[in-house]
């Protein structure tokens, strides 16, 4: 079975308190970039996409070879089917999860539950993010003890909160900006 890494990444927006004030948008972008490059050939990346990040990921795929498109599993909830970005069409593996009762929260919960119960998940990387990121961390911690949890504190947002609350003994290594070295060690 191909090993998979779950990517929980979003860029906190103004009005979202501490998530926004600590978030470092450049480092969020760079961390995802370095993850995509480091995971190539070693892991398939499972994620839900993001309007500011998906186009960049698609571009990296284009530059580093079409096989990159096979290296992603993109989850989308049918609740948002009117808003799917055009870039989604370029990914070969798109998993659509059902809309539940016309409810945003329930539909997202279903998507999350399906994404995080994939058998092949080996690691989970948390970049920036807000409440959803923390929920995903908690679900994995409770239900998937074999999945290695890796918040990148330097990116700020929820990832930084998770480093402080869950990885305080080793905070400096989780707060590095040397993402190239970090992922190399994780995937070796």
């Amino acid at each position: 079975m191909i090993r998979e890494v779950f990517l929980s990444a979003s860029i906190p927006v103004p009005g979202r308190g501490d998530f926004f004030t600590t978030a470092n948008p450049f480092l969020i972008q760079l961390a995802v970039r370095e993850l995509v490059i480091a995971a190539h050939g070693k892991r398939r990346i499972v994620w839900g996409g993001h309007p500011a990040i998906t186009p960049m990921v698609q571009s990296i795929c284009d530059d580093l070879g079409a096989s990159y498109k096979d290296s992603f599993v993109l989850y989308q909830s049918r609740f948002f089917d009117r808003d799917f970005p055009e870039e989604n069409a370029s990914f070969d593996h798109v998993v659509l999860t059902d809309e539940i009762n016309g409810d945003r929260q329930e539909s997202l919960s279903l998507m999350r539950s399906e994404m995080l119960s994939r058998e092949g998940l080996s690691e989970a990387v948390f970049v920036g993010g807000m409440e959803g990121c923390i929920d995903e961390y908690k679900i994995l911690k409770e239900r998937r003890s074999s999945v290695r949890l890796l918040p990148l504190g330097a990116t700020g947002g929820a990832a930084l909160l998770l480093v402080k609350s869950e990885h305080s003994n080793d905070a400096s290594s989780f707060c590095t900006v040397n993402f190239s070295r970090f992922f190399h060690k994780v995937f070796s």
Partner: protein, 374 residues
Amino acid sequence: MEAFYRVCFWGRIDDSVFEAISSDLISRLSDCRYELGREVGLERLLGELRDFDEKVPIVVVAFFSGEENLDIDFPESVSILPVVSRLEEVSRVVPERYRHINCLSLEHGIERLTSTIMESLGLLPRQRRVFLSYKRDESRSVALQIYYDLCGRNFEVFLDTHGVSLASDFQETLWERLCESDVLIMLDSPNYFDSRWTSAEYGRALSKGISVLRVSWPGMGGSSKTANAISVYLQDSDLSPAGEISDDKLQEVSRKLEFVRSQSHAVRHINVQGDIVNAVERIGGKYIGVGPHNIIGISLPDGRCITILPVVGVPSARTLHWTRLNCGVGAALLYDSVGLSEGTQSHLMWLGEEIKSVRFVERHRLGWELGDWQ
């Protein structure tokens, strides 16, 4: 305020030499309208390096005279400039592990040393490239204000003026200018973004690792498409009837730019250095360190030493020539192909085949190439 850049002196330095270097740095930094001790921190290290922040460009100028404690250790990503009074002293006073990094000598003059310090921090004009993008009929006045202000601070600014017609494809030469910049400044006026960028082109710019500073026009607020940018927000009161911004706001833009730019410089450097360490580990070689001109030294398993020069943007024949002169035969020019157009990539392959004395190596293939280095 916290400094954007950090210069550390280590080892025994005569007061007169320290004064001369400080004085020359002050003069050079005034070209950027910066002060030594404010935007650029200066410290004399008594022992270990404290408060190391990977996001702040740093250089350690290490003076060796034979009297030092030779056991000092610096983080492996830190640029070290070993300095001696005379080059003939190198084998006697410089510890073995620093001898593989080019040493500087005070015989060559203070100006050469301070120029190398500025270069290590990325403070030379050719290293401070900014791509300033705006919509002509909406923000021309502000664009020109920012342009002249940044030129006065030792930045090289490329103006990307977008007209009223529909977005045209990014021409190759324009794309190369963008790839050589470390910051994209966009004046996000009401009709700027969608008329200038397709989603794919903006994604491609981000894939290059460029950092983005966004000057957000009144009422524009946050944007999901440009969420990765650091923003300066304008209110209505910040724009004069003539469409210009106040000096205070201009100052805010330039300070944010320096923050964005210095962070980008440090973080990109550390990740390239990380790539090199990864590649060296893979083949069983040894990482030596970062020296003058940000040249990185490694040794192969068979003991051969190789110097690697990481390059931002598109490496040119001129860069190849400089590398040959300063790093010797067999050095490697390391570049990142992600975000470069197909035309540029095939040009680089052709250039690499024609010029054998310096090798072009694509960043993500370094381990592979080092494993079979001829």
